[in-house]
Symmetry: C2
Subunit: 306 residues, 2 copies
């Protein structure tokens, strides 16, 4: 096999109380990456999108992730990476993870699948380091495994796949900019023990709700008393989006990743469509341009298209 084209799903991380530990793979939006073996020894990158991302493989997330894999293999195989990015960088829907995960899954296929999913995450994390300065897997793990995943431990990459009942996601990306590093800097370094207990009670409720297909419990547990009180201030209309979404039948939701995108979960696609419409209307009323998605859960993560 000389070339492969893969679909690289956007991902929702945090899921309210699941700050830094839960991630969910989305059907929409997604990137497309085509990877081709070349007869040279270098990595060449083309972008079919207009996001003006760096083409130097040392400065490009996909390039860095692929190089990490090749370094491990002590391989000098050359590659051409063609990226059609549809997940806007900085949207909070795992744009950098889609690049890093997509390219390592594609390369693994072209190289005869020498690596496990867990090993692929380790390579892709090098791309995340370039993107955000820290090793984190809460977008990469769902992107590579698909579905809902728990990252129990990042150091050992202890990834737990969690079954969910049918669930649909509304995502609205208001066109405002929030740097991940800034969204992280405004979080307190310490939190009250009482607050922490509330958060992990909700984490336990949310995980139980998913695994026991208990939508009411999912709804009651979709709370974030740690990050949301700080980060929601950066997003105009946040409270109104929540209010209108719940009124339209959403189970609950909050900030996707570190924002600015907001997400809501619903039991069925019809409700999710209604919720998305309500969410978008709030931003329209504030004269903030926004992009909206209604998505199912991507069960498989990165997938071969051709």
């Amino acid at each position: 096999m000389e070339s492969v084209k893969v679909k690289c799903p956007g991902t929702l991380s945090n899921l309210c109380c699941g700050f830094d530990i839960l991630g969910l793979a989305l059907e929409e939006p997604y990137d497309i990456i085509e990877l081709r073996k070349t007869t040279t020894t270098d990595i060449r990158i083309h972008h079919l999108d207009a996001f003006d991302l760096p083409l130097d493989p040392k400065q490009n997330i996909a390039g860095v992730a692929l190089q990490a894999m090749l370094d491990h293999l002590q391989s000098s195989q050359g590659f051409e990476i063609v990226i059609e990015k549809m997940i806007k960088p900085g949207s909070g829907i795992g744009s950098s993870a889609a690049s890093a995960a997509g390219v390592v899954v594609a390369a693994n296929i072209l190289l005869g699948s020498p690596f496990s999913k867990k090993e692929l995450i380790a390579f892709a994390m090098e791309g995340e380091v370039l993107a955000s300065g820290s090793k984190h897997a809460d977008n990469l793990a769902p992107c590579i495994y698909g579905g809902l995943v728990l990252i129990r431990d990042t150091a050992t990459l202890d990834i737990v796949e969690l079954n969910t009942p049918p669930i649909y996601i509304s995502i609205v990306h208001p066109q405002i900019e929030i740097k991940t590093s800034y969204a992280r800097s405004i979080l307190p370094k310490e939190i009250a023990l009482k607050t922490a207990v509330t958060q992990w009670a909700n984490v336990a409720g949310l995980v139980s709700g998913f695994l026991q297909s208990d939508y009411d419990l999912i709804s009651r547990s979709l709370l974030d008393v740690v990050a949301e009180p700080h980060r929601s201030k950066l997003i105009p209309g946040f409270e109104e989006v929540k209010l209108q979404s719940m009124a339209a039948g959403a189970l609950g939701g909050g900030i996707s990743g570190s924002g600015p995108s907001l997400f809501m979960l619903s039991k069925d696609r019809k409700t999710a469509e209604l919720v998305t419409k309500e969410m978008k209307t709030v931003f329209d009323d504030l004269a903030i341009e926004s992009k909206a998605y209604v998505s199912g859960v991507s069960k498989n993560g990165v997938e071969i298209i051709s």
Copy 2:
């Protein structure tokens, strides 16, 4: 029905990372409470044990819990409570909860079952307030529901029953005294966000492990980075107990409630027996007297004996 005798299970609260939110009902040890309607209008209490607990119903946990129910009913029915306590007060195995839960379940039976389990917890919590000064349900909920339970929210008594695969518990109660109030006072009021994330990642892992019958995941998640580092210092031999228990095949464990009892979970009874023996030996070697139990999970909580 004029009288009823119930078996009131001891309970394990916290379960390492599940600080303040998880509780498990035990087959051993347990108390026995006999409740009899009388023709008077007062509550009389007899203890068949030698723990020298107050017999004044206003000072006795069972008396206070029963009175809370009668006040709610505006009833002046008199009762005689005969308590045979086998769970030593202050052991960290839910002694006060067994008294409070047992008496309200028994009274509910004698009064024609007007109350739900959740309502019974609310009455029994008045007994816990007398015992510890705070409303908490992490021993009461498993005592009344049986099995493993999550207290997602104490204010609304949002109780979630969690299925577990077969699990056996080793408990060793070293005869040292730790006041619950002191064990609570030595905990920090604030914790690092990073520490909190580690704890709720393990909570998510532990809940997933139980619900998905994944013993390895249960074992990897049975960690407590919040309370144990502080409270374990109050228990001589703590690290050695852990070390020997793991070597003997335990999945993991820690402090039961706020101590001083220690618990370990195992996959089968034979391992739990071996683990219990190893735990007890550590205290024997330290010349600390201890009482040991090997227990299955009480599936039903408080049960009618006759």
